[in-house]
């Protein structure tokens, strides 16, 4: 399933963009420095391919696939670090210089013998012959006098060769491709076995190309298919022979996955600790939109003009066919590192239509009344970050993000921890002030969205028969939590009106108690209320507030001793709704005054 889908993606992109996708035996790699030599192997110069003096990375080239190395010495074919190419190690203060030089010399020898082994004597390819001539003679010493050299040695950046007058690198010629192919055939020489991805007979890959770009994994890459300890072997088989993935399929899936995970990829997002990639069976706009739904929006893009959300909701109105009817298959793969291996955290396989429908459902479940300055639909990242300490992305609970994404894609109830972490944040921030000492809201718009979403979804999924919380204030809702939340908002309002410009309201001290153990908090709060209302100058306002309190209290039989988590959620929503109602009234009043 996963590998098959990736192989399918490889086929698609190799048709769509013929270069940038490496052929078999090659890979795409950044090469910052290119050494130009003449046909006779004389040194001519060094090209710096980096943009912006190395800040943004270097140009990418298709080069022979790198060899796996850990501590051993193994050279890549016709490209490598200064240590391999020239025997000049990257300076390292922690190691003895003689040892470094000795090792580098061995690396240099291996670089040359790798070339000699791959090509039969005499070397007929002009480019390769020139490189050999250059490397084995004294000509190479001229490089060290080049002004770029100190920087090259310092950074240990990759080097490759180009012969003057050619428009490809020396390692990109057909002769090199053929040599690599035949070397592979010889090296494998193994039995043909059906490939478990494609089903065709092929030689199984012993080691798979590393996957780079999974956050937290080794920078040199890690593997999905890997049997790196003997406990993982079966039937006396070694490494890749435990799972016969043919060389073709291996090349296809690793190339596709590396492309999806590449630095500049638009099809990769970080969801908690899982690096997540997504793709469609055929080129589809959803590939661009998906990141907008789930990812962090770029700073210069406002969510108001989020094209993805707009299309999702407005497509029918604009005459475009609704996304929900689209049967293009869509895949989401979440990867997490685990000790030089990569584990699959989650895997989703569906159609664009299903994805669109489920995401739309999510936005509908979460939408709630809000102030005019807030956006109608908040990105999932904005929602999750509201449950995190200090509102920082790194404080989002690692598993929560992935679970949330899974439940959105599958249309299942949100993770249970979502409700508790939103409520925990609300209580923790009941008495928070901003930089000017003015109190900050604790039941914020994103948190209200989340809590409402959880409640609505649970009610639908488990069919509890209870009245759902709605978009805005619901005077019919008789749930004790919801009513007490409303009551608390009115009591706070009475206090604010009695002491205009007050810094700390009852919320600072009583929100937690009122929402979890109403019996201990409300009798006291009602006593305070009498005091506040008696202070009001306007009799009309006092009567009005008393009327509202009376209306709400009519539904409350007793103050419950305890509210469970669900009801605490409803408390928060009731409080939020009632407050929004006050704002709405005031806005309407302000509007009228403007007209006069």
């Amino acid at each position: 399933m996963i590998l098959q889908a990736l192989v399918g993606y490889y086929r698609r992109i190799s048709l769509e963009r013929s270069f940038g996708v490496a052929p078999r035996g090659f890979e795409v790699k950044e090469i910052p420095f290119i050494i130009t030599i003449s046909k006779e192997g004389q040194f001519l110069g060094i090209d710096d391919t980096r943009d912006n003096a190395g800040k943004k990375g270097a140009r990418k080239y298709v080069v022979p696939k790198s060899v796996k190395k850990s501590v051993n010495i193994a050279a890549n074919l016709l490209w490598g670090t200064p240590a391999y190419v020239f025997g000049m190690p990257k300076p390292d203060e922690t190691k003895a210089p003689e040892k470094l030089t000795q090792r580098a010399e061995k690396q240099r020898q291996s670089f040359i013998s790798k070339i000699r082994e791959t090509f039969s004597e005499p070397v007929t390819d002009r480019g390769v012959a020139a490189v050999l001539h250059f490397l084995e003679g004294s000509e190479r010493n001229k490089v060290f006098g080049h002004p770029l050299w100190p920087e090259i040695q310092e950074t240990g950046a990759n080097l490759s060769f180009k012969v003057m007058g050619e428009n490809i690198l020396a390692c990109q010629s057909d002769a090199v491709a053929m040599a690599i192919d035949s070397a592979n055939q010889e090296a494998i020489g193994g039995r043909l076995q059906p490939c478990l991805v494609m089903g065709e007979l092929d030689v199984p890959s012993r080691l798979h190309a590393p996957i780079r770009g999974v956050r937290g994994a080794q920078s040199s890459g890690a593997n999905i298919v890997s049997f790196n300890l003997n406990a993982f072997n079966s039937y006396g088989k070694e490494q890749g022979y435990n799972a016969p993935v043919g060389a073709k399929a291996e090349h296809a899936y690793t190339t596709a996955l590396n492309l999806l995970l590449a630095k500049d990829s638009r099809q990769r997002i970080q969801v908690g600790d899982a690096t997540t990639v997504f793709w469609a069976e055929q080129a589809h706009k959803m590939e661009e939109w998906f990141a907008d739904f789930f990812g962090e929006l770029p700073a210069d893009q406002s969510e108001q003009d989020n094209e993805a959300v707009r299309t999702l909701f407005l497509a029918p109105r604009m005459g475009a066919p609704p996304l929900e009817d689209d049967y293009t298959r869509f895949f989401v793969l979440g990867l997490a590192p685990n000790a030089s291996r990569i584990a699959v955290r989650f895997w989703y396989e569906g159609t664009v239509g299903e994805v669109a429908r489920n995401i739309k459902q999510h936005f509908n479940d979460c939408s709630i009344v809000h102030g005019p300055k807030e956006r109608d639909y908040l990105s999932i990242f904005r929602l999750l970050v509201s449950t995190a300490q200090l509102g920082k992305a790194e404080n989002i609970q690692p598993l929560l993000a992935g679970e949330m994404m899974k439940s959105i894609l599958n249309g299942t109830p949100y993770p249970a921890t979502l409700l508790s972490s939103a409520i925990r944040r609300i209580r923790a921030e009941q008495s928070k002030n901003d930089a000017n000492g003015k109190p900050l809201q604790n039941v914020t718009y994103p948190r209200a969205c989340l809590i409402k979403g959880v409640l609505v979804r649970n009610a639908r999924y488990y069919d509890t028969g209870e009245k759902e919380v709605g978009m805005s204030l619901d005077r019919e809702n008789a749930n004790a939590g919801y009513l007490l939340g409303r009551l608390f908002a009115v009591l706070e309002k009475a206090q604010e009106r009695a002491n205009p410009g007050i810094n700390a309201t009852i919320r600072d001290r009583y929100y937690g108690a009122a929402s979890s153990t109403p019996l201990t908090a409300f009798p006291h709060l009602l006593k305070l209320k009498n005091h506040h209302i008696s202070k009001l100058e306007s009799r009309g306002e006092a009567v009005n507030l008393e009327k509202q309190i009376g209306e709400i209290m009519a539904g409350v039989k007793d103050f419950p001793a305890l509210l469970n988590l669900q009801d605490q959620g409803k408390f928060a929503i009731g409080y939020y709704h009632q407050r929004e109602e006050f704002f709405k009234k005031r806005d309407a009043r302000d509007g009228e005054e403007d007209h006069e």
Binding site: P194, L196, G199, V225, L229, A231, N338, R345
Partner: protein
């Protein structure tokens, strides 16, 4: 000539979790979507196996939606060798992630065949009856499991009309059928698996559709 092949036999199995590990993702385990024929054979072997018979799976019905669960746990990363002095488990810990199936139920359709080990006293009805008695009583040689030993399987006879499968249609790609032991070394065999209306049709092991 006496009959060599049993009538079609049905068995319902279910469990809380299951992991029918894909060979390519068996270190950081990822399960197949559906029970594999070899896992089904393992369950039947656990309930009734004699040298006289060999089980063949013909069909697997999926009775519950395919649901996933991601778990990380501690395992051991090395194997004991007779030449070593043993190893210290705490030093050989390996954290391994797994993407397992959750809340599964299947109907296994199978038959058995008399093979070389059958003596003169063995005949097909004898084993058919034995199988029926054993599943009725819940007897087994070892606890049957859903892909991995830790996911114990419950089983019960399937009497009357078999339960209706979930309406799932899905291309499952190449799936492990079973190991083939005839060659010089054991080799896996694969078949192209499709789920049609919640039913996985399993071709005979020696048919052309099975590669390996």
């Amino acid at each position: 000539m006496s009959q060599r092949r049993s009538r079609p036999l049905l068995l319902k199995v279910w469990g809380q979790n299951a992991c029918f590990t894909r060979p390519e993702m068996k270190v950081e385990r990822v399960s197949y979507d559906v029970m594999t024929p070899s896992a089904a054979r393992g369950i039947l072997d656990a309930i009734l196996w004699k040298p006289a018979i060999a089980w063949h799976i013909t069909q697997i019905d999926v009775l519950k939606p395919i649901r996933w669960e991601s778990v990380r746990r501690n395992e051991v990363g090395c194997v004991m060798s007779p030449r070593s002095n043993g190893f210290f488990v705490e030093k050989e810990r390996q954290q391994r992630a797994g993407l397992f199936l959750r809340d599964v139920a299947y109907t296994v359709h199978a038959y058995f065949e008399l093979v070389g080990g059958a003596g003169s006293a063995d005949n097909v009805p004898k084993f058919e009856e034995m199988f029926a008695r054993r599943i009725e009583k819940g007897q087994c040689f070892h606890r049957p499991y859903l892909g991995c030993r830790e996911f114990a399987a419950n089983f019960e006879p399937c009497i009357g009309k078999p339960p209706t499968p979930e309406p799932i249609n899905k291309d499952l790609g190449w799936m492990l059928y079973d190991m083939h032991y005839g060659a010089e070394e054991p080799t896996p065999r694969f078949f192209r698996a499709f789920l049609e209306g919640g039913t996985l049709k399993v071709p005979p092991f020696d048919s052309e559709e099975v590669r390996g």
